[in-house]
């Protein structure tokens, strides 16, 4: 059967298209959806493109937060000044996502809604405390990202809703940020383990506040508040990070898959913490 293709130019046209094609799929950059359709792992009566709706694109700043339209491409994030200045963590995670072509096509909203355990922007968005606007013709609700993603490929998005905005609180100044991704090769590799970190270090060299999130070591991004608490008040020394790394290895819940075994992932999730030593030499934002 032939599939329909709809290119709405406003949200009103989008709601109309969805009413006409209740089993139609939303198409953002298509870098996940079209791969799945071709592999026979997804089907739909219609493709409804989000590409030409200005309300769903672009980045704006205000009220202490950065608002990102879901159909904003990864490349647009990399080119944006406010992202460079305030969200270096998100920027670093987008830099290592896919390839140039994939970053020109793929969108932030697509990465979030795919809800892959290996999704590269997700650890950063958890660490940054991002909140998501979910909109339907009836109205809009806002949920924290950790409540939005329920498991691999599973979100709380209702049938009539779309992700219509990503709200990232502007972090307090004086932090360092790092995204560390371990994959099989540098470019275009799906993460075997990844870790996002944002840390504020006191004048006397101890950790004031730290936020950590791991990818690919559980069904969704893993946060470990007990590890953050352990690190706060301590210096980021080799001994401290080794001890914290053991807590991490115990705390994560990885699986075996084609890319790596669970035991290896557990080990790397802890050892990757040693990369925080590099952060001490890095730029303070």
């Amino acid at each position: 059967m032939k599939k329909e293709f709809i290119l709405p130019k406003t949200l009103e046209e989008l709601w109309e298209a969805r009413a006409v094609h209740p089993r139609g799929a939303l198409l953002a950059g298509g870098t996940d959806l079209l791969v799945r359709i071709r592999a026979g792992r997804a089907d739909s009566q219609a493709l409804i493109s989000l590409d030409r709706i200005p309300d769903l694109r672009g980045i704006s700043t205000g009220d202490g937060e950065i608002f990102i339209g879901p159909a904003t491409t990864h490349q647009q994030l990399l080119d944006d000044y406010s992202v460079q200045k305030h969200l270096p963590l998100l920027r670093q995670s987008v830099e290592v996502l896919g390839s140039p072509q994939v970053r020109h096509m793929g969108t932030l909203g697509g990465n979030i809604c795919t809800a892959s355990p290996a999704g590269d922007t997700l650890p950063a968005l958890y660490v940054l405390g991002a909140r998501l606007d979910l909109r339907s013709p009836q109205g809009c609700r806002t949920v924290p990202i950790k409540e939005f993603i329920e498991g691999p490929g599973k979100t709380v998005l209702r049938k009539d809703e779309i992700l219509s905005g990503i709200r990232v609180p502007m972090p307090d100044p004086g932090f360092r940020a790092g995204y560390h991704k371990v994959g099989q090769r540098k470019a275009m590799a799906i993460a075997v383990v990844s870790m996002a970190c944002q840390v504020w270090i006191n004048d006397h060299g101890t950790v004031g506040r730290i936020r950590l999130g791991w990818g690919s070591v559980g069904p969704t991004v893993k946060t470990l508040p007990e590890v953050e608490k352990f690190l706060e008040g301590r210096p980021l020394s080799l001994e401290v990070l080794r001890e914290a790394g053991q807590m991490v290895s115990k705390g994560v819940t990885p699986i075996d898959d084609v890319r790596a075994g669970a035991a290896y992932r557990r080990l790397v999730a802890g050892r990757i913490l040693l990369r925080l030593l590099d952060l001490l030499r890095k730029e303070v934002f």
């Binding site: 032939k2 599939k3 329909e4 293709f5 709809i6 290119l7 198409l27 298509g30 870098t31 079209l34 791969v35 071709r38 592999a39 493709l47 493109s49 590409d51 490349q75 896919g98 390839s99 140039p100 072509q101 994939v102 020109h104 096509m105 540098k186 470019a187 275009m188």
Partner: protein
């Protein structure tokens, strides 16, 4: 569905299934076989085209998405019988073996040099990281792109 777009400098309109892949439209309907398909799943870059000047993958795009856009394929880089400087550099540096990856490599390089006219070798490697050469002629490909970027100085 009728789809209007600009292809290699000319406005065209085609009647097609809007969910047909762009790579199939280019190769099968329009006879532009310079665009190659290898993996069909975004991994290799052989099907790279420029959409409004930006490198994208024609195996992961459907016809409806290019409506109103400017498309450049490898055939569109030649102007008035003259090869594009990146194409010339590929010839001069022997950056072509079997040639299957070449159209995609060249277009990815054109986009890279538009964003960053004087990339270092490491930046060139990153800029071409979405394109795989099965003949593994990477060294000469990087040489060619470096030569094409007027300043051949290594920035590392």
């Amino acid at each position: 569905m009728k789809i209007h777009f600009r292809l290699n400098g000319s406005d065209i309109a085609i009647e097609t299934d809007p969910c047909r892949r762009v790579v199939d439209i280019l190769r099968e309907d329009l006879g532009l076989t310079g665009t190659k398909e290898s993996c069909g799943s975004g991994e290799c870059g052989a099907c790279t085209i420029l959409v409004d000047g930006e490198s994208r993958l024609s195996c992961l795009m459907v016809a409806g998405q290019i409506s109103g856009r400017k498309i450049t394929t490898i055939e569109g880089l030649v102007s008035q019988g003259e090869m594009h400087p990146v194409q010339k550099a590929f010839v001069d540096h022997g950056a072509v073996q079997c040639g299957f990856c070449t159209p995609g490599m060249v277009l990815a390089a054109v986009d890279l040099l538009r964003r960053n006219p004087h990339p270092g070798r490491q930046e060139i490697r990153r800029g071409l990281s979405g394109n795989i050469c099965r003949c593994t002629g990477y060294q000469k490909i990087v040489d060619a792109v470096e030569a094409a970027s007027r300043d051949t100085g290594d920035k590392e």
